[in-house]
Amino acid sequence: MFEFSPANQKRIPEILAKYPDTQSALLPLLTMAQRQEGYVAPQAMVEIGKILKLSPGYVQSVASFYTMYHMHPTGKYIILFCINISCQLNGADELLAYTASKLNIKVGETTADKKFTLHREECLAACSNAPMMRINDTYHEDLSKEKIDKILDSLD
């Protein structure tokens, strides 16, 4: 079963009010479901379909198009490590390998304690402060090994 929390329930009419067509609320509701549960569960897609009068299959076809939706549970912190050109030119590959070995996982995996998930990511629009990574909603820029140590060690 999936249910939006009471606080999120309250936000649904506010979100719907932004648009003349309720289907526009699909991405916002998927995002809200993911923020609540950590991923987009099949039941969440069914529930969102009910709210917006869309079939679960249609909801899934849209959700699967976008890379930010996780279809499976992830770690508490999702590390998205940019490897695109400006970061690559500034040593991102080495720092990504360093981060993976520090966490003792491969890129794409989650640590055994479910704390960190590490992904390779395409450009996140922080190119003049490369190399960079995004952890949940926060951008961390101008990275070095020391800085990565500090950031990862500071997270509970």
């Binding site: 932004k18 648009y19 003349p20 067509d21 289907q23 526009s24 609320a25 699909l26 991405l27 916002p28 998927l30 995002t31 917006l52 076809s61 849209v62 198009f65 976008y66 890379t67 930010m68 939706y69 998205l80 490897i83 695109n84 050109i85 400006s86 690559q88 030119l89 500034n90 395409e122 450009c123 996140l124 629009a125 922080a126 190119c127 003049s128 402060n129 490369a130 995004r134 909603d137 926060t138 951008y139």
Partner: protein, 420 residues
């Protein structure tokens, strides 16, 4: 100095994102002038300023506004804040530092085009910028810069934020509209163009963040003043994201026509470790790379086109002589393979094939024929794809072979020696 700060004059001012601070810098000052003009006059001003779209295509902004289907309402304004072109980080700067400037620009556009509802489509990763914007919108509503009868003008306008969820293609305007309507972010067939049938099949203006941020300046200072800067066809200033192998990467607002050399060596402090420049990508990852001997090219639409590339979104990526270009090209090919939406065959299959060949060459398994094959695939994607993503994917590959075939051959040679 070649810097020309029309948009970013106060960008480093503390708390500029707050309304009170923004107003101290003269913010929202353009609205009084705006509401004294007729909507058509505002469109004429923007036309006269020579302002061109800062998202990548460089289409004249005023002309775009004038194309809206006559007498069809409601109409919509969509601000494209899906900044995803590798190398580009200038819109994020404007969004996070001066959200009210964008709101002010959107009000002017909406007034000129008789639009009552605007959306700002943020890429999904811009949660922070979107949160800041929501705060800024609240402040603007409280002051009646937004809402009903704005400042007694009789004009109503509201702006909403909308977050995407990770898809480069949503920066393409018709894909953005599909995404905003709650669909897969695949591009639409054009025509009809968004000015005729856009969001919810209604006439729609879609402009980049930077484009809209220029409009208050044009209203305040007049189009002649704006047009007095820049070159004959590339007017005003341009915010350029400089990244890669420079000592001082950053966003620099320059007068159009400033040379790439000035950007790299004066503003960005030169190449790291004083290495030699090898290549630069002038306008974001999709624009063809150019070799070091074209470093004196003026940074404007026409000059970069004449040099065989594009100004694009204004992202200058600098590559020094320590790099084998195949490595950078492979990374970009991998990006376009990942971001192709899969709708049309040339792009879906072509981007994957280019990546496969490049990966093989990079791993020392390539042949000369495969390099020729890459050129052939480029020709078969160009102008044959459904939307500009296919052409974008070709940019780095074709130009890397054109200018740096020796880098490919170095890897092939290694292969030949290895197998000998």
């Amino acid at each position: 100095m070649p810097e020309l700060k029309l948009l970013t004059k106060d960008i480093d001012k503390k708390d500029l994102h707050k309304l009170s601070v923004y107003e101290e810098t003269g913010g929202y000052g353009s609205l009084k002038k705006l509401f004294k003009k007729k909507p058509d006059e505002v469109i004429e001003m923007v036309k006269a300023s020579g302002l061109r779209g800062r998202g990548g295509a460089g289409f004249p902004a005023g002309l775009k506004w004038s194309f809206l289907a006559k007498d069809v309402f409601p109409r919509y304004l969509c601000c494209n804040a899906d900044e995803s072109e590798p190398g580009t980080c200038k819109d994020r700067l404007l969004l996070e530092k001066t959200p009210h400037l964008l709101i002010e620009g959107m009000i002017a556009c909406a007034y000129a085009c008789k639009i009552e509802t605007g959306y700002i489509y943020f890429r999904g990763e811009f949660q922070h910028a979107s949160d800041l914007m929501d705060e800024a919108l609240k402040e603007a509503r409280a002051k009646n810069y937004l809402g009903k009868n704005i400042m007694g003008s009789g004009f109503d306008f509201e702006i909403h934020t909308h977050l995407g969820a990770g898809a480069y293609i949503c920066g393409e305007e018709s894909a953005l509209l599909n995404s905003l309507e709650g669909r897969r972010g695949e591009p639409r067939l054009k025509p009809p163009f968004p000015a005729v049938e856009g969001l919810y099949s209604k006439p729609t203006v879609i402009n980049n963040v930077e484009t809209l941020c220029v409009v208050p300046y044009i209203i305040n200072e007049g189009p002649e003043k704006y047009a007095s800067y820049g070159t004959e066809k590339s007017k005003g200033s341009k915010l350029v994201s400089v990244s890669g192998h420079v000592k001082k990467p950053g966003n620099y607002e320059i007068e159009m026509g400033t040379t790439v050399r000035e950007l790299i060596y004066e503003l960005a402090g030169g190449i790291r470790n004083d290495n030699k420049l090898k290549a630069y990508i002038p306008g974001g990852s999709s624009t063809p790379m150019l070799p070091a001997d074209l470093v004196d090219t003026p940074y404007d639409y026409e000059s970069l086109a004449a040099a065989g590339s594009m100004l694009g979104s204004g992202a200058l990526i600098v590559i020094d002589d320590q790099v084998n270009i195949v490595e950078s090209t492979l990374r970009l090919a991998s990006f376009y393979k990942h971001e192709s939406c899969g709708k049309c065959t040339p792009c879906r299959e072509g981007t994957r094939w280019m990546w496969q060949l490049l990966d093989g060459i990079h791993n020392g398994e390539g042949t000369n024929q495969q390099v020729d094959k890459l050129v052939d695939i480029c020709d078969n994607i160009s102008f044959k794809s459904f939307c500009p993503l296919g052409d974008a994917a070709v940019g780095p590959v074709a130009s890397s072979i054109k200018y740096f075939r020796e880098d490919y051959e170095a890897l092939l040679k290694r292969n030949a020696e290895g197998t000998a």
